[in-house]
């Protein structure tokens, strides 16, 4: 799959933003006034900024509101609804904390549940696709939720929880890679099943339908980025998990925490780049490619 910057920015930053909002909704930390304002500002910057970035790849962003209508079948629509509802609920909750030092806890809990729902529905947009076997697995939503809550815990200063969740996310990520590497083969979709010509013999793409490229090849066949996949996996593991955990284990210092957050963000961006660049869509088979 083409690793579009808009989608990488969207999943990374809105994941972190909603992760932070989750902990704020639970009252961890129980900040009020200016402290609360700073926390909520960072969370909304991530969540709303990410959502806005995701509209950049739309052909008609001015019609985006229509995407809230098909919640019965569409995970993308459900995600839109969950995101908008959660941001509205948390705005009221955050407004109470910042302006009136008023803690409407049940509203915070509802908002935290909304954050979970938003992260989960985002991940299901990818996990639902049978056409991308690597994503079509329970580890996709598990990883999105763990990463989001882990990053949120890091941003909200819940360092013990952050260490545990980052450890869990790292382990889940390694599992997702190991199990995902063989999933295309296990899906049973091959050039033979794609063309239905397997009963005659082995199939080879002889001539593509056109001399140039096309939308499908640009969107679904991304071979270039896989070259350095192993190095990037190691780098993302170090930056996303090892460095932040090592920094958090020492004595607390605002600068070290900032470095831990920055390292984690770069690590997650690398993870998301790999998430798309390594995902192979079955349509590539029609072009003899993966």
């Amino acid at each position: 799959m083409h690793p579009a910057p808009s989608v990488i920015i969207f999943t990374t930053f809105s994941g972190l933003g909603f992760g932070l909002l989750f902990w704020l909704g639970l009252g961890m930390p129980a900040a009020t006034g200016w402290d609360a304002f700073v926390f909520f500002a960072i969370a909304y910057l991530g969540a709303v900024g990410g959502l806005l970035a995701s509209t950049f790849h739309l052909g008609h962003p001015e019609r985006a509101i229509k995407a809230l209508s098909q919640w019965k079948t569409s995970w993308l629509s459900r995600e839109g609804i969950a995101a908008v509802a959660t941001l509205l609920i948390m705005a009221v909750f955050g407004g109470g904390l910042v302006l009136f030092e008023m803690r409407l806890l049940p509203l915070g809990w509802l908002g935290a549940a909304g954050c979970l729902a938003t992260i989960f529905t985002t991940s299901m947009i990818y996990a639902q696709l049978k056409t991308v076997p690597r994503w079509n697995h329970w580890s996709t939503p598990a990883l999105f939720v763990a990463l989001s809550l882990g990053g949120g815990a890091l941003l909200s200063g819940n360092f013990e929880i952050a260490i545990l969740l980052l450890l869990a996310s790292g382990a889940l990520q390694i599992f997702a890679w190991m199990s995902g590497d063989g999933r295309f083969k296990a899906s049973g979709t091959t050039m033979e099943s794609a063309t239905g010509l397997g009963h005659i013999g082995s199939v080879r793409a002889f001539e593509p339908p056109h001399t140039g490229t096309n939308y499908l090849m640009r969107e679904f066949i991304h071979v270039v980025g896989r070259k350095h996949a192993m190095q990037l996996r190691v780098i993302s593991m170090l930056l996303g998990f090892v460095v932040p955990i090592a920094l958090l284990l020492g004595s607390f210092n605002h600068w070290l925490a900032l470095i831990a957050v920055a390292s984690h963000v770069v690590g997650v961006i690398t993870l998301r780049w790999l998430f798309f660049a390594q995902a192979e869509h079955v349509v590539g088979l029609y072009y003899g490619k993966r």
């Binding site: 739309l58 052909g59 995407a67 079948t73 239905g196 793409a205 056109h210 140039g212 499908l216």
Partner: protein
């Protein structure tokens, strides 16, 4: 709503004969022509007159080489098969249910999968969900384009009756494309599928495509190509002069060719 209908009155679709398709791409061109000039946003091209030309097509013809396994230790000749591919109007169309706006839908009356371009936000998720590459986002219009089964031809009473079929079927010079109702077991297309062993593409994806493909027929045994060979032997054996002497002299040497 993007819920799929539980059943459709008709299942209009195509049957494509891989045995007769000659790979001329006439269906590709007639499709692009009709669908650019008629219903919906035109199918745009980018850098059409350069080395990096690209454009939106609803129908594309791939060509595959299929290598049969060895038969009694003898290698078998490879077969070249031309393979037109467009929307298969699946019964369980994953492109429809993922659509967040309701722009994609499957018609209850005939099973055709269509996009309402006024509602499409161009998010591309339907193209992600389609295993066949049947949907392409138009780079100029920013909306999703796909085969309409020429819905503006097949019911169009302004056209002569013989033209009321998809442009690709009407234009095919080899008779490799057939259009009809695959829900009706007595229709020509259903009989064709039953007799020729029509199959689904990627059945493991669970999309239940309406369009069917007919397999290439088994090839005849190879004819005896050298039936004329004895008459084609070189006849100018009677060399003369120096060359003739050299020929004889070399043959006379030990190990020389006679």
């Amino acid at each position: 709503m993007t819920e799929l209908p539980t059943s459709t009155a008709k299942k209009l679709g195509l049957v494509i004969d891989l045995d007769t398709c000659v790979g001329c791409h006439a269906c590709v061109i007639s499709c692009k022509g009709w669908n650019t000039e008629n219903y919906g946003a035109p199918l745009s091209d980018q850098n059409a007159y350069s080395g990096a030309a690209s454009g939106t097509f609803l129908n594309r013809v791939h060509s595959y080489e299929v290598q049969p396994p060895m038969l009694r230790d003898a290698p078998q000749p490879a077969q070249l098969i031309h393979f037109p591919k467009s929307c298969l109007h699946c019964e369980d169309a994953p492109c429809v249910t993922v659509c967040p706006t309701g722009a994609s839908y499957k018609r209850v009356e005939d099973g055709i999968v269509l996009v309402n371009e006024q509602d499409c936000i161009g998010c591309g998720l339907c193209a992600w969900a389609c295993p066949y590459g049947a949907r392409e986002l138009d780079a100029k219009e920013g909306v999703m384009k796909k085969c309409t089964l020429c819905v503006d031809r097949i019911y169009n009473e302004n056209l002569p009756e013989e033209d009321r079929q998809p442009a690709c079927v009407r234009t095919c010079p080899a008779g490799a494309r057939h259009f009809g109702d695959l829900a009706d077991e007595t229709s020509d297309v259903s009989i064709l599928v039953a007799e020729r062993g029509g199959f689904d593409l990627m059945p493991e994806q669970g999309t239940k495509p309406t369009n069917k493909y007919l397999p290439p027929r088994p090839k005849d045994a190879e004819p005896e190509y050298d039936i004329l060979a004895p008459y084609l032997e070189p006849i100018a054996n009677d060399s003369q002069g120096f060359v003739s002497w050299l020929d004889k002299a070399l043959s006379a040497l030990p190990g020389g060719a006679k």
